[in-house]
Structures are given as structure tokens and as C-alpha cells.
């Protein structure tokens, strides 16, 4: 009887652990990508935040051109997890920033394919896509990967 109970507990723990591993195996990652000629090969999360807040506009003499996605799902995940804001808070921030300093907000791209293509063709450009959407020969480089949950 004791063995039966022990077996039940072990089984339950195994089930929970496997669930956790399954979840983490499928946790999606955002990739911060840049044009191949971008001066850096890696970037910190706080620098990404500065770029998308219009606080950092150049790197090594190159003007940074941030791009964002029109797709609401990935945009929401990026704003919440990387920018630490809400979609409305982020939009309100850009109304203020544009009015105060004349800094234009990041340009929007309609799809990951369009964004990757635009970044590969535009010097100094930076963007974000799901990590599994970046192929080896896409003409961009990955600066940072950020796990953003399921």
C-alpha cells in the first residue's frame, strides 16, 4: 500500500516536471535583429528599450532606425516583456515624445518577412521577430534573444 502511494507521488511529480519542461521547450523567444552592417554584434535589453523609447538614436556614428511589427500579438508581447509597458502606455509615450522632441516613432512593418527584408536592406535598422523566423541567409544578424513565455 505504501509503495502504491509512493508510486502515485513519483508519478505526479514526473507529470508536473514533464509539463514544465514541455512548457519551457515551447516558450517563445523574441529575436532582436539588425542590419548586417550594424556596429554591434550583441545588445543589452536596456539598450533595446532606449532605442524603442527614442532615447538612443545612434551607435558608433550610425543612425539607428528602429522598426516594429503591425501584428498585434508580437507587438503586445514585445511592449510588455521588453519595454515593460502596456500597448496604450507605449502609444501614449510616443504621442508625448513626438510632441516634445519631434522624434518620430519606429516605422511599422506588416509581416516578419517584410521586416526582415527591410532590415536587410536598410543600414542602421533594428527590429524584432520571433526567433524561429530568422533564417541563416536572411541578411540580418541576431543581437539578442529574449524569452517571452508562451
Amino acid at each position: 500500500m505504501k509503495f502504491a502511494k509512493l508510486g502515485f507521488v513519483v508519478g505526479l511529480i514526473t507529470l508536473l516536471l514533464s509539463g514544465t519542461f514541455y512548457a519551457s521547450a515551447y516558450a517563445r523567444e523574441l529575436a532582436i535583429i539588425a542590419n548586417k552592417d550594424y556596429p554591434l554584434n550583441s545588445i543589452s535589453a536596456s539598450a533595446v528599450k532606449d532605442i524603442y523609447l527614442g532615447e538612443k538614436k545612434s551607435e558608433g556614428g550610425v543612425k539607428i532606425k528602429p522598426m516594429e511589427q503591425k501584428d498585434e500579438a508580437i507587438k503586445k508581447r514585445f511592449i510588455e516583456k521588453v519595454m515593460g509597458s502596456t500597448v496604450d502606455g507605449y502609444k501614449a509615450y510616443w504621442i508625448k515624445k513626438f510632441f516634445q522632441e519631434g522624434v518620430t516613432p519606429p516605422t511599422s512593418k506588416g509581416s516578419p518577412v517584410e521586416m526582415i527584408q527591410a532590415i536587410s536592406q536598410t543600414g542602421g535598422s533594428v527590429g524584432y521577430v520571433w526567433a524561429d523566423e530568422v533564417k541563416g541567409d536572411s541578411g540580418v544578424k541576431v543581437l539578442l534573444k529574449i524569452e517571452v513565455g508562451n
Binding site: D50, E55, K56, K57, S58, G61, K63, T86, D88, G89, K91, A92, I95, K96, F98, F99, Q100, G102, V103, T104, P105, T107
Partner: protein, 353 residues
């Protein structure tokens, strides 16, 4: 009517350009409508009866062509006139150094450059007394025409913002039966240029805190023929400003020390300050409290010319955010001005588009 039509055409043209160009061209604006009423004793009789008013329509656009920037802002006032609010060309050398040439918001304190005509951005309905616009009887030039070098840099100590500017010194002009400041848009009426500086830091150890100092020095000339005509005054304004946002609370305050020196070398020192606290109960509901004070030297020729009086104002308000673009604010104010006191009630609906 023709002016409003011109603005309408401008808006349509700019919108078409924005859509067709598909690059970094942005066109935005603000608008607001309000209702105000005051009790016996108010110095502006229009508000005693209760008045609806549209504040202003603010239209602005910016274009970035590589390192060169253009920003233009036009205001359609409630009287139907169009005012060129800002117009500058900018060149970005780096994040640490940007050049702006033209007409810009004077970087004095935080409030003036943060909100200006953007009523949707502004936490309260009215600007504090110390930072009122020139045409409202403001005591400092809210606008400057000249050259502004500014920048920001992230250091180990925190985010630094800094700048220096030189501009046409302001002058005093007639406006109806009053005299008001004017920023000398197209020419200076004396050889002495105004100069200013500003510096602020958001410390790395406390990023939701921002403290700053700024100064503005100018020779002000009375260009009116209305007696008493003020002789030139050398003015020095120093401002200390703070902004702190821990969580849902936002606390800000600015202190202005104003020194005016007459031609006979007589010095007059006055001061003004305000403190604002807002608390976001939810994303939608934000109550606020603003305390506002201005104490001026009675025999200061500069304040005599502008008919500036001592003022103390306490404002209790509630803001409701309809969305991130639109809000309604309601306020009750207790005002003490030059031995009179009265209450004011106001509602405002503001929009960013």
C-alpha cells in the same frame, strides 16, 4: 474663415503627403474644449457667468531626413487666428549633441517643454502661474527664437540631459489694454542676446526620479508707448525642478527665482513655485492636487509693466482617461490674488489625434 480653410487644406495636404511618402513623416495634433465658472471676485468677468470655450487646435508635424529634422507646430486659437508656435530645423551629430535652430519652447524647468499646448498630455487643465503663456500674462518667455544645443548621455551615474541656448531677448508689447511678453520672432530689439542653460539627471539608483536646474538671462525692453514705459531690465531666472514617479504616484515641483535689475542698478528679487501630486487609482481615474504660488516685489518695474500680482492657487482635480488619446478633467480651484479670493470650477475634454 479663410484662415481656418487654409489650415484645413494644410491638414489634408500633409495627410496625403504622409500617406504617399510612407516614411518618417508624422502629422499629429491636439484639441480641447472646456467649461469654466467662477464665484464673485474673479478678475476675469467672462468666467463668472460660466463659459464654454474651445481652447485651441494644435497641429504639428515632423520630418526626419537622415540627420536633419524639421518640426513645425501651428496653433489655431479660439479667436480664429493662426500662430506659428514652433518651427525649427535640427541636426543630430550624435545622441550627445543635437542642434536646433528656429523657434522652440524655452527649456526652462520641466513643465514648459513637457506639455505646452498639448492639453491631453498636461495633468491639469491650466498651466501653473509661473509657466503661463506670454499672451496670458506669463512672466517668462515660453518661446525662444535662436539656437539650441542639446543632448543626452547615459552614464554610470544615470541619464544626463543638458543644453545651452541663445536667442533674441524678449520684449514687452501691447495687447489690448495690457502689456505682454513677446519672443521677438523675426528681429531683436536690442543687441543683448538672451542665453540659457539646462541640465537634469535621472540617477541610475533611482530611475523614476529626475532632478534638474536651468537658467535664462535676458535684457527685456518695453516696446510700447503706453505709460509707464519700462526702462530696460536685465533679468536672471533660475529654476530648480524635480519629478518623482514611484508606482502610481507622480510628484513634481518647480521653484523659480527671478532677479530683475533696473537701469539704475536697483535689484528686485521675486519667486514663484508649484507642486503637483497625481495618484493613478486605476489606468482610467487619476485624482490630482496642485499648489501654486507667486510672490513678486511690488515696485519691480518689470512686473509693474506686466501688471503681475501675487497669487496663491490650490487646485483639486480628477482626470478620467477615456483612452490613451483622450481624457476629461474636472477641477475646483481656490484662488487668492491681490487681496481678493474666489473659487473656480472647470471641465475640460482634451484629445490627441
Amino acid at each position: 474663415m479663410r484662415r481656418i480653410l487654409c489650415v484645413f487644406i494644410l491638414v489634408i495636404t500633409a495627410s496625403v503627403l504622409a500617406i504617399s511618402s510612407g516614411h518618417a513623416f508624422e502629422f499629429k495634433g491636439f484639441a480641447d474644449v472646456s467649461f469654466s465658472k467662477s464665484t464673485e471676485g474673479a478678475d476675469d468677468i467672462r468666467y463668472r457667468n460660466g463659459s464654454f470655450a474651445f481652447g485651441s487646435v494644435d497641429l504639428y508635424f515632423a520630418e526626419s531626413l537622415e540627420d536633419v529634422e524639421l518640426l513645425s507646430e501651428l496653433i489655431v486659437t479660439s479667436s480664429g487666428s493662426i500662430v506659428a508656435e514652433r518651427l525649427y530645423l535640427g541636426y543630430t551629430f550624435s545622441d550627445e549633441l543635437k542642434l536646433r535652430v528656429g523657434r522652440f519652447h524655452t527649456p526652462l524647468g520641466f513643465w514648459n517643454t513637457s506639455y505646452h499646448h498639448g492639453r491631453q498630455l498636461q495633468p491639469t487643465i491650466l498651466r501653473p502661474e509661473a509657466v503661463r503663456f506670454e499672451f496670458e500674462g506669463g512672466i517668462f518667455p515660453a518661446h525662444s527664437v535662436g539656437v539650441w544645443l542639446t543632448g543626452r548621455s547615459r552614464t554610470t551615474a544615470g541619464m544626463l540631459e543638458y543644453g545651452v541656448e541663445t536667442s533674441n531677448g524678449p520684449k514687452i508689447v501691447s495687447s489690448g489694454s495690457n502689456k505682454v511678453l513677446n519672443s521677438n520672432n523675426t528681429s531683436d530689439n536690442n543687441i543683448g542676446k538672451a542665453v540659457g542653460f539646462h541640465a537634469a539627471i535621472s540617477p541610475a539608483v533611482m530611475e523614476n526620479l529626475k532632478v534638474g536646474v536651468s537658467g535664462h538671462f535676458a535684457r527685456v525692453k518695453d516696446d510700447t508707448a503706453t505709460a509707464p514705459v519700462m526702462k530696460d531690465v536685465d533679468q536672471a531666472v533660475y529654476v530648480a525642478a524635480v519629478m518623482y514617479s514611484p508606482g502610481n504616484v507622480n510628484i513634481s515641483g518647480e521653484y523659480f527665482a527671478i532677479g530683475n535689475k533696473s537701469e539704475s542698478d536697483k535689484k528686485y528679487n521675486s519667486n514663484a513655485y508649484f507642486g503637483l501630486i497625481t495618484y493613478a487609482l486605476t489606468e482610467k481615474w487619476v485624482p490630482y492636487l496642485l499648489y501654486d504660488n507667486m510672490s513678486i516685489k511690488k515696485d519691480d518695474p518689470y512686473f509693474k509693466a506686466l501688471k503681475t500680482k501675487d497669487v496663491t492657487k490650490t487646485t483639486l482635480g480628477l482626470r478620467y482617461n477615456i483612452s490613451y488619446r483622450s481624457s476629461v478633467k474636472g477641477e475646483v480651484r481656490a484662488v487668492e490674488k491681490d487681496n481678493n479670493d474666489w473659487n473656480e470650477f472647470a471641465l475640460q475634454w482634451a484629445l490627441a489625434f
